[in-house]
Symmetry: C2
Subunit: 393 residues, 2 copies
Amino acid sequence: MPVRPTRNPGSQSALRLSNQQRILSNLVSSGPTTQADIARNTGLSNATVSNIVKVLVERGLVSTSPTTSSGRRAQLVSLKSTDGAVSVGIDFGRRHVRIIVATVDYRVIGEKDVEIPLGYTAAEALDIAANLLTSTLLQAGVQRSAVLGVGVGVPGPIDSRTGTVVKGAILPEWVGVTVRMVEESFELPVYLENDANLGALAESTWGPHAGTPTVVFIKVGTGIGAGLIFNGRPFLGHIGLTGEIGHTPIHEHGLLCRCGNRGCLETVASTAIMIDMLSRALDRPVRTRDIVRLVLAGDERAIRVVDDAGFAVGRSIAAIANLVNPHTIIVGGPLADLGEMLLSPIRRGLQRYAVPMIVETTELVMSSLGERAEALGGAALVLQHSGIHPTLS
Amino acid sequence: MPVRPTRNPGSQSALRLSNQQRILSNLVSSGPTTQADIARNTGLSNATVSNIVKVLVERGLVSTSPTTSSGRRAQLVSLKSTDGAVSVGIDFGRRHVRIIVATVDYRVIGEKDVEIPLGYTAAEALDIAANLLTSTLLQAGVQRSAVLGVGVGVPGPIDSRTGTVVKGAILPEWVGVTVRMVEESFELPVYLENDANLGALAESTWGPHAGTPTVVFIKVGTGIGAGLIFNGRPFLGHIGLTGEIGHTPIHEHGLLCRCGNRGCLETVASTAIMIDMLSRALDRPVRTRDIVRLVLAGDERAIRVVDDAGFAVGRSIAAIANLVNPHTIIVGGPLADLGEMLLSPIRRGLQRYAVPMIVETTELVMSSLGERAEALGGAALVLQHSGIHPTLS
């Protein structure tokens, strides 16, 4: 029987990348280190360390300086962090742009957000973001040349083969936007990613769930999507279209969905449908923040809408938990301030439809990062692509 | 903001394991190699290679012999494969035990299966398997000491924290069985795993889908479960309970399920429910193999039962594809011989409920490994736990 290769752990480029990440991780955890000590700490040969350090110097990630060690001349390797290298995260929503600037040791040193009008084009939004980027770097006292890259979140699926926003995005204006277009706008290296994926990465990097290896982040907003962290890293599947849970069928003969099907989760539990129902019931325009306000004020109609939505989300979460058995499920998005008012019906749905042993061993919580999650995730994405992982505080 | 560790890629034990796997992979692909050449091929230092080779010699995985290289004395390291090391896979079903013996270069050199009566205890089944193991090794001319380990598949969830079969198993007699009990029965190292997980591993190791990094294997049998291969490796989630898709709700007010819920996928699409419906309709006892025979003979009742079941499976597969965006979905289990008769309604369900771009880019196929998949997966599991991955043929 013929045997074909699995992803060969010994392939040369995978090996190089893995060796590079080892060296960077070692520098993050140990601080400036001689080449000989890096070799000792990682098990790599001196020649391998020396070659990779050369590449990292060229990429501007580390610098070297002469020193002495046990009386002999040696090369001291330092992360450029000490020179102020930073990572930027930018999150685009339907009505906002948020930016976060973080150092290579995962400290946030700059943060801003602006509201933008509904229905702006992608080009207009990118202009606003480019200005926000310039002013935030200026305020934080950071040179543009110190930016390792920009992690950009958009509320839509990204085809990882081409780096393009594809059909299904909450902002139709963004369909067709490529990573190259965003790079031209920012004049910096860009990583383009779905917003729920960035939320998941942020939750597994910052806050109380940092370090949890298996996390599902559910963003309940105008659309509903999931971000997956498996074995400590973002999971993107075959072509980057993971977490498309908004179109799970809930009611066979329910409302028509923007995807062409009917009765999808989004027709029952998105903030868009909640706004639609409450605007009719109250006979005046309602916005997302009003949903939170009405529920917290005890409005029975708003409570019912959120309760039904939460139960449907919980039913979908049950199917997810049965399939991938996560350690922690985190609910985020603009309704996160509702806390138990939203989490309680979600928990009922999970308990009703998941396998009992999975219910017992899965942690279900509300996001503590709130609306900052996606931009934080963007900043983390850049750092992790540079092989810089968070270390013990 | 405090930063806590993600799974630190630089942690010492993870590094050691990763270095060990590099060295074993190198030996599998290059054959016997000197320690100096292993260091060159892997980028590891001579000291690291020497230490790891010592450990591998102690574990009986490799042997060393003196040689010369460029006129200098050197240590030649060889995989014990040349001495006939093997891996064993054993699959327990409701009515069968199957065994497969494979070499470290993934060649099958022994295979047997026996039918066993319904309702046997786990202890009885283990006795039968232990005898089968002894006779199969004898026929293949393999010493017991050459067996690296036994990968054992059972149709039930395994708690990976304790290595115990837990509630929800198709064979209730197996609940509470531990990896330790199986090891005592076989007197060999044992890896205990859910059968669908082993099917997934087999499909990504042997046959036309070998090397596919993201695979979902769906086993449709007395129960319905999924096995997941993510990034080329089995994905086990938080405590090993992945792929529990048999209890996805399909009909809100459907039949009561063995899990305590009602209307689950298994109440609509398992072979158990097909057998139940066809036995009533035909007024005589029907077995799994009869379902295949009746459908292929054109019996309209059997065709209808399989078609409805397939569509429900397809709907569940759509939710899976929307969530984890696999490259390939493979349908296995005892109905695999039905081919298009089962695959066609599954495809209709997938197309009806999955996001269009995911439908377009996901491959949906029938297993070509058939009833051998789980035992093949068991053998592959042992080899991969020893760091031995398949290479180019």
